[in-house]
Symmetry: D2
Subunit: 341 residues, 4 copies
């Protein structure tokens, strides 16, 4: 049997660990052959492949990124996208596909499966916002990187009596902000799920300054103030009506300075959150996902995605997997609120 | 209400995070008072206490160890141990106790509860071998420290064509060896649950050397060879009958050199696995355990221990908690075996 | 003898190590007493002090920031600043001062010394731009933090075929950009000392993309394009005439996207570069600086600053110390240029 | 011109950075060709070579170990060793050699140079014990790894009231122990240069325990007690006459327990000190050494070794380079002694 493998969407620490596990077990235990598709769905669309054998996956376990490359190419947006992929699989003698990616990638995988292609999915979202699994690999790494950055900010905050803001990833779900902020002892955590009250934020800031310690605010990139507090929206103006300064973090700093008279500084972690070597948690999870995916292939259990439930690797339908986003529930946010101010 | 807190047994990254969460929520939300007992059960036995207020727990979240100190003192081994503790609680006006520790500590907590003392337990075992919870804090930190050490060994192993052995913690359960070995791409992993065949180990070593790469062997301190291969046991002789060289790691190196003629070197990580700042996973878990414990106190749900099930913090009886050891199941070991050799 | 200690200017990993060494040796070897002044020159101006004994410096060696706090208060900007400090020293019975800081702080120290105050200086600049010493503590830590961030960006750059820009500290001197960029294998390094040619930068970017690898550009916050390429300057417009997006990094990304049609993303490390625990190099250097400073006090060698020359701690006059900025010499930049593109 | 490159002796973080710099500048600036010799002097002796071009050195900058492999093979121990190497150079069309290694490797390089072979040397000793250079790459990485391990031990030492011993590298010179111990705030540092007084060590241990903190002892593998305190020496018995337990660290623990009645535990860092990614200091130093070496080749300045003096890369004769070991001078040890106990 000849199996194609691709990685789609944003890169994530652990992708290489999945690829390695799939290939190692696929070859040594099941005797399969593999084809690597380059840059997500662009690979099967354009027949851009690379060899994927034991040698190709040697030493990639600790490496971030993906040796297959990735892209946001979406075949569903092409009239004949799905058709071309099916034809190319035939042409390349590819019997089945393991698609590693997030909502979009798995959505395409589901569509292919509906059309009779043999597909198994592996979930990937650094934001941890996929509902069908307890955790996705990459998330733990991102949280640790953000936590270490916030740990560093503490010493400066205390030495300078200056409010420090750390903007982390999370467009729709605030999991990284919640976990990193809770782990690093943030004084305020702002997430997309709960529009914030800027007055309340400034209260926390001022009460914190009274302790001779300075406040650390962790804000998810997708966080935003309450309706009433929103200034005119425009591509040139940020949430508070200032000239846009690269995101909610900068905007928040300006607003806090204006309202409290205290200095505020912002750090935007950006891409360093998704780069570098994965944590042990992510390497083990990604490896187990890879093993689970190739087992599903072996069982001919198509249209499924591997997922983590407790400490077990289970299989769920691609349907269920992509059904809805996993947002931070209010009770988890309230746990963190105990430590605000 | 006045609540005592103690930490018992070996120290573990995350203990301070539990203490902080208990005290922060206990004071700010429930309005409790706290007494810190020094050095595990020695504290209540000898009335050795320290103040435990907001100020005392400031800045301890990222710090390893425990500000309360710990010890292996076991009141059950004293004729009047339990009695003295009850008397001292009365003397100090302590209404309830939060005991943070492993099997022994929680065993004492259970006994006290049986005798009418109001107790809530928080599980702590760096080996992750407690059956009632998916994970315990400290484990993830230990696994990451071991993984980083093994990552480092890879480069030397490959440059020197020398077998490298890394001895990690795990007297009865091989969880740290399994996860660290799987995460760092070990060529062989040896755990207490599965007595190893030295001939098989040497086969892996030799097959690995054929690839121009050198083997990395991760061995839990409690791992041991099969019956038949055991030499005379004596305090002076190790498992292979060599003069004892400080553990199974050293013994294994000697035996591999003898049998394969290849150089072998051992690193014993020892206490560095349980020291230093906790990972984000452990800080979040420990914080949530602390919040869960003080909530149990507030609910008057005595004789319970907090535990992790999936992503939820639940409560189990101290009875259940200490019933049996959680060992590595064979199917988890077989996952790792795919990558041996 | 009673000695005052203060830390001025931006905080820097290693400040606490200096304070600890000064106090430990001062008390145990020379039998001195110490007074800690809070928040740089604000302390002596306002008699804001804190106790500084063995207990106060326990455990601070690995901690970033400064237990004394810091500020940019400059007594020379007050009419009677120097006078007030002299009076307060008399009032507090302070016989001599150890001033730990950068150009400004040491400038004040020099002025005080000119007026007969017994002062010894310890150099502190995270940018490593002080001419009288080979290195200053904090620099090595900042470079390692930046390097680790850039290491992380590599994996993403390669997986996404996207240009990644990392903006690091360095307003006037490019030492952090040079060392971090050289250490992390940057494809282009831009420093304030050498106005860059945007056409050349885009050439490097495009040639790099041809290798299937993506370019990493490290830019010091003070770097800027050549005269000819400068757009109208205004507080609202950045170096390229775009609406300001928070610095040269963002501006560069926009310009590269415009000129090459390739995606570009920016990470601004900001304050995480100056926070957290110091590296071994910085802890040893800071400790030796502290020992050297208290020895200078013991020798009554006033008006001097400690400095590193090779592996030796020497003394230079505060005059010489603050004479001129240490910029990156052209031959050092040319070393790095070998690896551009 | 065709240039051979080899790495000899123990591996060291930074070797790959040297190789990369040599090849990158050699090809892009000077237009040379390169041959990689495998496993130190074994390569030229047995004509075991590998291609060494731009592609071969891509991505190796952050990687520990050496892509060329290394060994302790010494041609001077073979009757016709030097002769064979000269013949093989002719056979392979190798015009000159860059030898990267320590005393032994550079000793052979010097002998070859005496016999008319065109050689340039690059110093490599993780122990930093080469007299002709201020620092060698790899040392800073080893010191940081050891420091981080000792940082971790602090938390356990304090929680358990247990003396912790950390054995680090350093057979003849105590630089790693001195710097790591000074950086991590060790209570005692023992180095080969100064035979220790076990009574004094135990005094420090006991005085430290009086502070409710526990002592951390850093000991170089080559450290040993004073003559008078030496028990019978034998391969089976350690320095104190106990059955050998794998080094001075274990022996010291046993002796301290015997004399003070306090628990003592040992961690032996071993090979993790020389593995893994280099620090920024080592990557920059190794890169500059590589650039300096290829420049020396271009200048035809044979028989020289590159060295660091202050912040400059200079050239010294191989003669001078290997003349004598750089030991820790007494005044540097006395700096550290201020913090003992």
């Amino acid at each position: 049997m000849r199996i194609g493998v691709l990685t789609g969407g944003g890169d994530c620490p652990g992708l290489n660990a999945v690829i390695r596990a799939v290939v190692r077990k696929g070859i040594s235990v099941y005797g399969y052959e593999f084809v690597g598709f380059r840059d997500g769905w662009r690979g099967p669309l354009e027949c851009d492949t690379m060899p994927l054998d034991i040698q190709a996956v040697r030493g990639i376990l600790p490496r971030g990124g993906t040796i297959l490359g990735t892209s946001r190419t979406n075949p569903l947006k092409l009239e004949d996208g799905v058709e071309r992929i099916k034809q190319n699989f035939e042409k390349l003698g590819v019997d089945a596909l393991i698609a590693i990616g997030g909502e979009d990638t798995l959505g395409v995988a589901k569509k292919l499966h509906d059309q009779g292609v043999k597909v198994v999915g592996v979930p990937k979202t650094i934001d941890n916002d996929l509902n069908a699994t307890d955790y996705t690999f990459g998330f733990d790494t991102a949280v640790n990187i953000a936590m270490e950055a916030i740990d560093r900010l503490h010493t400066t905050a205390e030495s300078h009596h200056r409010a420090l803001i750390c903007e982390v990833m999370g467009r729709h779900a605030g999991w990284i902000a919640l976990h990193a902020g809770m782990a690093a002892g943030a004084n305020v955590i702002l997430i997309p799920e709960k529009p914030f009250d800027i007055d309340k934020v400034c209260e926390y800031v001022e009460s914190r300054f009274k302790t001779r310690y300075a406040p650390i605010i962790v804000v998810a990139e997708g966080a935003h103030p309450k309706e009433g507090q929103l200034a005119v929206q425009s591509s040139e103006l940020d949430a508070f009506g200032h000239v846009r300064l690269g995101g909610i973090g900068e905007a928040l700093a300006k607003e806090i300075e204006k309202r409290t008279g205290k200095e505020a500084r912002t750090t935007v972690l950006g891409h360093i959150q998704r780069g570098g070597t994965p944590t042990a948690f992510d390497r083990v999870l990604a490896t187990r996902f890879g093993l689970g995916a190739i087992d599903a292939v072996h069982d001919g259990d198509w249209g499924k995605m591997v997922a983590l439930r407790g400490t077990d690797i289970v299989r769920v339908s691609l349907e269920e997997a992509t059904a809805e986003l996993k947002l931070v529930p209010i009770h988890r946010y309230e746990e963190a609120e105990v430590f605000f101010g």
